[in-house]
């Protein structure tokens, strides 16, 4: 497996205001078949999708529709059975390093405190973590973790740990952020706050964001476009442009139009027997 050389932004410590630093992502004809003994599972079938630079795309679908598989393929962590992924015009082969990833569980390192868990991103890339310390602190403060930088992961709540994971995924200013059900393990209130914080971070930096979720309203609240997937084999069933103003404050997400978007997705799932009454 070939991996690209790690990349870090040149200057450290003084983040310039960056708007529109996202890269385009081109997914064409991706299919994934898992073979085990004589059992063949078609996880994904012909996924085609163009993501614009800086776009926020949410993928919503039931368990088993292959959305996590799709995310791993985009990251170059999994080789697709067929099809190609291009990031910023370059074909992905082997782990793509110019991105940040957040998983459902925070996957922090137990032996590092919160600040060092953020800086491990730099450390693993062979950069100088000390140069990023101030920036890590600024980002941690932005997600309400200013006083927790010296705590160990186990001392923090699930939501705080996940915030740390998000900061870790952004510290090196990647032009692409991949999130695999990042709020899946959190309670509803924490989810809502994280959603608001994530939108803020995205509005500031403008990195292309690929957000996988089970939550219909979460997808509508965050995304420019919602990709609706149905299972077995996973395929794109619908693509909804979400034309709602940002930031998506309370009056936006309680609006009639917001509810209509959610309805549309729900009905799409009902037609495919994903949701049954």
């Amino acid at each position: 497996m070939r991996s690209e050389s790690p990349s870090l932004p040149e200057a450290a410590g003084q983040p310039p205001p960056r708007q529109g630093t996202g890269v385009p992502v081109e997914i064409s004809g991706i299919a994934q078949i898992f073979r085990r003994a004589d059992l063949e599972t078609r996880a994904l079938e012909r996924i085609d999708l163009s993501v614009k630079p800086g776009e926020f795309v949410a993928v919503v679908g039931p368990s088993g529709c292959g959305k996590s598989t799709l995310l791993k393929i985009i990251a170059g962590l999994l080789e697709p059975s067929s099809g190609t992924v291009g990031i910023a015009g370059k074909r992905v082969s082997g782990p793509h390093t110019d991105l940040g990833i957040v998983f459902q569980s925070p996957v922090l390192l137990d032996w590092r405190n919160i600040l060092d868990n953020v800086l491990v991103q730099i450390d693993l890339r062979g950069g100088n973590p000390a140069a990023y310390r101030d920036k890590a602190r600024t980002l941690l403060a932005k997600v309400g973790l200013a006083e927790f930088e010296n705590r160990m992961p186990r001392e923090l709540s699930g939501g705080m740990r996940q915030r740390t994971a998000i900061v870790r995924a952004l510290i090196h200013e990647p032009p692409l952020l991949l999130m695999d059900e990042p709020f899946g393990a959190l309670d509803a209130l924490t989810r809502e706050q994280m959603r608001i914080d994530l939108e803020k971070l995205w509005l500031e930096r403008g990195q292309t964001t690929f957000f996988i979720t089970h939550g219909i309203s979460e997808a509508v609240a965050l995304a420019d476009r919602v990709i609706v997937m149905t299972p077995r084999p996973g395929r794109i069933e619908r693509i909804l442009e979400i034309d709602l103003p940002r930031p998506r404050h309370k009056d936006v997400i309680t609006s009639r139009r917001f509810a209509d978007y959610c309805d549309e997705i729900t009905e799409c799932f009902m037609r495919h027997g994903v949701i049954q009454y």
Partner: protein, 249 residues
Amino acid sequence: MIIAFIVLFLLWEFAVKLFGIKEYLLPPPSKIWSEFLKRQNTVMASAWTTMTEIIGGYLLAVAVSIPLAMAIAYSRFVENSIYPIIVFLQIIPKIAIAPLFIIWFGFGLFPKLLIVFLLCFFPIVVSSVAGFKSVDPDVMDFARSTGASPARMFFKIRLPQALPEIFTGLKIGAALSATAAVVAEFVASDRGLGYLLQQYNGQLETPMVFAIIVLLSLIGLAIYYLVEFVERLVIPWHVSQRPTEMTGL
């Protein structure tokens, strides 16, 4: 804890006196202590011999087990070829091989080191292999997405992640090491605490037998706690999150 021991020793002392139990059956603690003081030079010299065997054999086991465990964890070939042999060898009662070592290597220090090594080796290998393999796949995905070199990935992620389980093996090994040395000396020896124990036992010098048993226990305990102390220094993040366990002392 200490009070409990004092009470136990006092009860023992008085029970022996009260019921008139013969000294060669169960000597009172005071007698054990006075006999020990009389011969402490002989005993301490033997203790030194035994400690050398324990520590030498143990360190040898650590030095061999951990690199071997890494090879098993990271190489499919080594795992498929060598690991089954190791698992098979583990089933052999190691103590039963001890007499063979005397035939092969004579009476000196070496066969004793080898027996201590053998007994400590397996738990350390097995735990370390488990430790090196127990990395969360998501953590590895994260690490791969940073493009980290294999060396960096090992030192920054795999090794620290494996340390708690490695230490579990190291502690089991430490607890076995004293037993291993004594057994080795039982089989054939002209020095050491195991040898002395047999001598005194043969002469029905029960107070000395007790003294040596106590001394051996203390040595075993000291080695165990030494390893645990090192563990506290190396992986404080793990030790402090572990639920309170049998660390009573």
